[in-house]
């Protein structure tokens, strides 16, 4: 019980952010047409690529003899970049086609 209350105390601002973001996330995409489901999913996929920041921090702070952190960190940065770049490019490619369509009609 002690641990939980001190945990809450220490991370109060984080917890606020989490709660507000949950509501915001629900609110933002509440009325999305089904045609946009796939691009939206792909876009959200790219945004969680923000995890790459963590991978960069891991790599950046690793001592030169900490091979586990260096190797796993290296892989993490590669994968994270894949997620970000691939995610945004794929989303853009999908949406490019919608755009063409809209101009025509």
């Amino acid at each position: 019980m002690e641990a939980i209350s001190s945990f809450l105390q220490q991370n109060l601002d984080m917890i606020y952010v989490v709660i507000l973001m949950i509501f915001l996330g629900f609110e933002i995409i509440n009325r999305v047409p089904s045609v946009l489901h796939t691009p939206l999913m792909s876009g959200a996929n790219a945004i969680h690529g923000v995890v790459i920041i963590g991978a960069i921090i891991i790599m950046g702070k690793a001592e030169s003899d900490n091979y586990l952190a260096l190797i796993l960190g290296f892989i993490a940065v590669v994968l994270g970049t894949l997620n970000v770049v691939g995610g945004f490019v794929v989303t853009d490619r999908m949406l490019e086609m919608f755009k063409k369509k809209n101009q025509k009609s």
Binding site: V18, V35, M41, A44, V51, G60, L82, M94, M97
Partner: protein, 476 residues
Amino acid sequence: MSISILAICYIIASVTYILGLKMLSHPATARKGNLIAAGGMTLAIAATIFLYTNDGKPLGNFGWIFTAMTIGLVLGWLIAKKVKMTAMPELVSFFNGMGGACAALIAIVEFDYMYRANLNTPDVAFSSVAHFGHYLAIIAGSIIGSTSFSGSMIAWGKLNGSIKDVSFKGQHFLNLIVLVLVFGFAVYTWFSPAGHANIPFFITVFLALVYGVAFVQPIGGADMPVVISLLNSFTGVAAACDGFLYNNKAMLTGGILVGAAGSLLTILMCRAMNRSLKNVLIGSFGGTKASAKAGPATQKAIKEISLSDAAMVLAYAKKVMIVPGYGLAVAQAQHSVHDLEKLLVERGVDVRYAIHPVAGRMPGHMNVLLAEADVDYDKLLEMETANDEFKTTDVVLVLGANDVVNPAAKNDPGSPIYGMPVLNVEEANMVIVNKRSMKPGYAGIENELFYSRKTSMLFGDAKKVLQELISQIKEI
């Protein structure tokens, strides 16, 4: 000073994610929204590299970081640009898996730091020396990230056809046991001696990977979009856990935002198929197959139509409705179908497309595909509009669609897809169904439509059939 600039960059990045997602949910602003979010991401990454300080020290190992980022950039760009439009769904799953793995790796390295920091007191329980909040974030990040990674890889394999649907009795029970074991080892790690905490931790990660596989494996391929969307939100939560670890608001906001938006999107997708999430996850199609087959077993004769007859029928029809499905996507026949449409329109036929919201492998799959072939937007009818039109339609041409035109969804309460809105193609005068074989669709259920008196089957690869139809019609 540099820290505050970093904080401002992160705030800007968080705002771009929110704005980006908001704009992505409206057709007119979607593309701009994606670019804005990408811009915010670039800012956040650049700011982290150059401004982030760890206990007052700036980051090092730039050579490694830039090498890794270049590899990721080139690979990601090439894959995303080269892959065909039809393979988009599995690509989203693939990239999602990469993000999940990234989040899990970060958590694993952070666990290693925590583990080694407490090695000088090997016999004291981990719980009394380690920071509870950090452990919680690490274990949650590694479990969710690993599950998301292995699950996404399975979903990816299922969509590109390299992994088959396998389900057996008691599978859900087994999954539950694996899940309980994951949590059990996660708790056990916390209370085990600090000198040996690494072994149960890695068992936890391993079991989480197993769970991802076991969780996705029994779910039918047609439901993969829903699963990918769910795993997408998992990865978001995993990213948020890592953000919590570093007290990094940009990661936290981005991750939670995706987690929440992704869960809602998952529910919306289920709703588009008129099914509940529970039904998708637990009620895998395998279990209900038997009851669906038992029902209609009376008339099993199908009628085939020759290419020239089909060409004749289409050329002399007044109103033709084309129903595209996954078969069209697989055969890459979107350009051929557009050619056929143009040819028929030249002959004075009224040609339209009836788009089921979940035709193909992803909502909007068909719209994207047909847009690639420059099919006019006005010719694409949504399901409700199309259903009003079928009564006055002469010929419906079904191209590689199956479950979305299955009347069992309306008539047979025992059918696994009962209640899903479908296209009422049987109301038209005549239905021509193009399929590669009589194999049932992704839901694995028989389609009464194929045995209807109105229906004629035209077997073959969609692209080949369409090209031959075009040359036949030209000769008429």
